[in-house]
Subunit: 600 residues, 2 copies
Amino acid sequence: MFQSFDEKTIPGTAKDRIFLLRKEMLKNNVDAFLIPRNDTHMGEYVSERDKRLEWLTSFTGSAGYCLVFKDKAFLFVDGRYTIQAANQCDENIFRICKIPDDTLINCINDHLNEHEVLSYDPWLHTIDQIEIIKSKKRDVIKLVEVDNFIDLIWNNQPSAPLDLMVPHILKYSGQEHNEKLKIIAKNLSKKGHSAVVLTQPDSIAWALNTRGTDLIQTPVALCFATISASGKANLFIDQNKVDNKLIKHLGSNINICDIKYFGEFLNAMTGIVRIDSQRAPIAIKSILEKEKVSFVYDSDPVLMLRACKNITELEGSLKAHIRDGAAFVEFLSEVQNKNSNITMDEIGFVKHLELKRRATGKLKNISFDTICGSGPNGAIVHYRVNTKTNRQISYGDIVLIDSGGQYLDGTTDITRTIAIGTVPEEAIKASTLVLKGMIAISSLKFPLGLSGRDIDAIARQALWSEGLDFDHGTGHGVGSFLSVHEGPQAISRQNNIALRPGMIISNEPGYYKKNSFGIRIENLIYVKESTKGKIPDKRRMLEFETLTLAPIDHNMIKLSLLTEYEKKWLNNYHSNVYKKLSPILTKTAKSWLKIACKSI
Amino acid sequence: MFQSFDEKTIPGTAKDRIFLLRKEMLKNNVDAFLIPRNDTHMGEYVSERDKRLEWLTSFTGSAGYCLVFKDKAFLFVDGRYTIQAANQCDENIFRICKIPDDTLINCINDHLNEHEVLSYDPWLHTIDQIEIIKSKKRDVIKLVEVDNFIDLIWNNQPSAPLDLMVPHILKYSGQEHNEKLKIIAKNLSKKGHSAVVLTQPDSIAWALNTRGTDLIQTPVALCFATISASGKANLFIDQNKVDNKLIKHLGSNINICDIKYFGEFLNAMTGIVRIDSQRAPIAIKSILEKEKVSFVYDSDPVLMLRACKNITELEGSLKAHIRDGAAFVEFLSEVQNKNSNITMDEIGFVKHLELKRRATGKLKNISFDTICGSGPNGAIVHYRVNTKTNRQISYGDIVLIDSGGQYLDGTTDITRTIAIGTVPEEAIKASTLVLKGMIAISSLKFPLGLSGRDIDAIARQALWSEGLDFDHGTGHGVGSFLSVHEGPQAISRQNNIALRPGMIISNEPGYYKKNSFGIRIENLIYVKESTKGKIPDKRRMLEFETLTLAPIDHNMIKLSLLTEYEKKWLNNYHSNVYKKLSPILTKTAKSWLKIACKSI
């Protein structure tokens, strides 16, 4: 199994560990030390070695940070994780603070005296993160870069992953990496930048057409790189991750250097170096400054290139979605068959779904730990089942399953909410409102230039009309055999990035009734130009095309709430699901799907 | 008549006037001089005396500025006004620049050499406007505050308006001004501010419950004021505008000073003075800085108070809308009666509508020059008919009429688009899509905390679905017997102010087919708490209540495009219009309205 169901957290360890940390702080005359969840690459997923926050606090969530003082400690997490953090951590040691209501700055104001020292590992914080503290506290406290104290005290810290970096071939990438380098170089030249420092492994993976297995569910190799305005690149990577196949693939434009020379190389850079202050660790800025290398802040030039998928990537994604959809339907057909031998609990569902995906023979990994929440567990947006929380699934339950796969040709992410037997009318009504929002986004046409923020309301209008809403974004960007949460686009009130053709994005409105049930319906969609013939005013309009293929449970739909248009949309969608998936399904699954996709 | 139809612009005068200006610039060693459209109060409307930009350039639009160099001159206007500016100005003298594509900074970069002098009247530019230039050019050019050169060379410049400031009584304001001062004072105390400087006449009018007639269509008196954290105020106003009635109304908490002492008073302020850098002229900052008075930037504290109308203001607005709606219906019923004696041209329509409003006996003024665009003129969003553009209205024409009145109990703003006889199917379809957007906003429920930007898409979704859109915001705030364009709220992609109960806002989607026709349907609506009983999750939801009462032309609706819900909305609306207006209509208008409001 890719997914594990062990409860990972051991709050009892915190006392000894924070004692060791404070000893280290004292030795170094440090009054406060900041420990983030992220690694130096600032991504959502980190390797075992980089789970410093978890090691210290027992908190396993995907975002947060801890500020440790000599006699107190504060764990900052967002609204998704406040309950989880309280459950996982020893609250005698860590006070749980809620972002954004509680802020790091206020915490510093309240607990750090004038001239006291706040320290941090400069490789684990972005330039922007530290600069905001500096801008407010520079004249009051001392900010000091230090070696990571956790690494000094963590006995048996896992070693850094050293898996091979592997080529991602043209068949899947659709564009030679030398072509990509040329485009990036042109962008740099145009802006007068001599080179850019890339710190995000998925940016480097995209630019060099490589992948890896350093992070469990995001297929990248951890590394740094620079690309110059002449189109040459330097890849900084542990030599153990490099083999001849990779050297041959990268070719003469890319110079492979051991990662230990990265700092030295930065020292010697010339011209105006571009760094992304939102994403690059401040250590890079410190090195450049020390050696008086000129630099400017500008966004990672790969971001928008990576976000707008080319034809090959989009076609690959469709193939991946047919394969993944078929696996999902095999799973669904057995779950809803009373004679199947699936264990009827959440872990049983997760295992069975993973088996079906593995059975495709193409699954590289799941794209994230499957969320399978039945009954009240469905209402916990970021629920991950473990042996303790595992819940028997019985007649009358609503089950929310959010899962995805990593395939060479594409990354998938799908949520369906299914009824096991007859479920309450209230849930069916809510589910129908969610579906109306999902269809509204799927059907939307909108002018070029609009961002996710501008259209987020469209997904919520039906829920709002009944006084309901959901407390997460409507959708996130998705990579092409890369991160399942990929920026910069998103459908969210926080996102100001204009949507562009080729962007893959999720469309996943939901509704969560605490202690009762959760609903989410998620399809991946991609942005495309809207049909030209329909546009009398010659405005450039965009629309979405749906990638995900799996039936939406009829038992969760109150037909009288749907408009004629929505019924037509659903029938068309189901007809397409059946057409695309039925040829590769087992006989039983095919019969099941035929009924699941019947016209309403 | 309140409205004049003369063509105001005389491009031939520019040559002599700019010659005089350049002589003045030379005399003062100034290389570039900046002339804005606004007066010192930064509002949308200015008195005749302050129409400096128009005097110099002949451009009569409501926004823009001119940068005059020794040998060239650039007039900056936004997209609404590029065509108008080209028509009104001598392009041999003024190059028309389009905001935001063309920027002042680029123009300075291109045409001003190092160490050259850019001058401006510090009373006519906000702090933010000048600071942005300083931040980019401080080390390159010299920025020098000067007396206004236009005032020095403008022969026969009209004198400043000196109309009386009058009390706005409790019956209409709903709250004593001393109560308002207490609330403002509390806000100041809480933030540690000793006083605030108010520079917007409508903020002062709201806070002191006064009105005036200095600006034609916005009922305010031009003045400045300060309010202290103890709840006392100083009003700086020309003594000619003050009579005993006003002195009695203002009472002992408000000290009336002649406006000529305003600068001296600023000099002597103590504590931390609050100024709104987006709205206050930079002259105020210069004075405070010179005398080392401490100050902070923070928004005008009246803005949000003024925006959220109290019960009295909302009830007043409804009364004004019944009165105004009845006048509008009298107009409509005659326009569509073949035996009426209305002159069937745009000016005839405008005059007749104004007469109907005057006939209410309560009209203080129109709230802006009526936009009455028939046929292709309807497609010009900011069209104002004059004797040259006036167009005969014939059978088959579509006429867009956007107008409003100023009444003591409220400000109105309504747009209807009517068919004279049979009009093209294309226009009826577009009009129906516009109506769908208008109904969608009218019916929307949404969570507290959302701004106009978050819901703007709802008004456009139906148009977008056919590849159509409109290039203006969906709605603007409206004052209570104050400015018809009142901030800070708006339904627009540019607006981030959370909507709050009591805010009055327009709901006016449109569609414009260049050289052919224009459609706009506008109701004023206000924000209120949504019905509690309907909210199972205890989320605070908001919704809109419609104020405007006038029929929407059935001849402009393609019924098959409306959903059942939309038809029901329209029938309910029309039934309410008939119920509210019919008791005060003439017999003919009442019969006409009965048909116009019949169920569909």
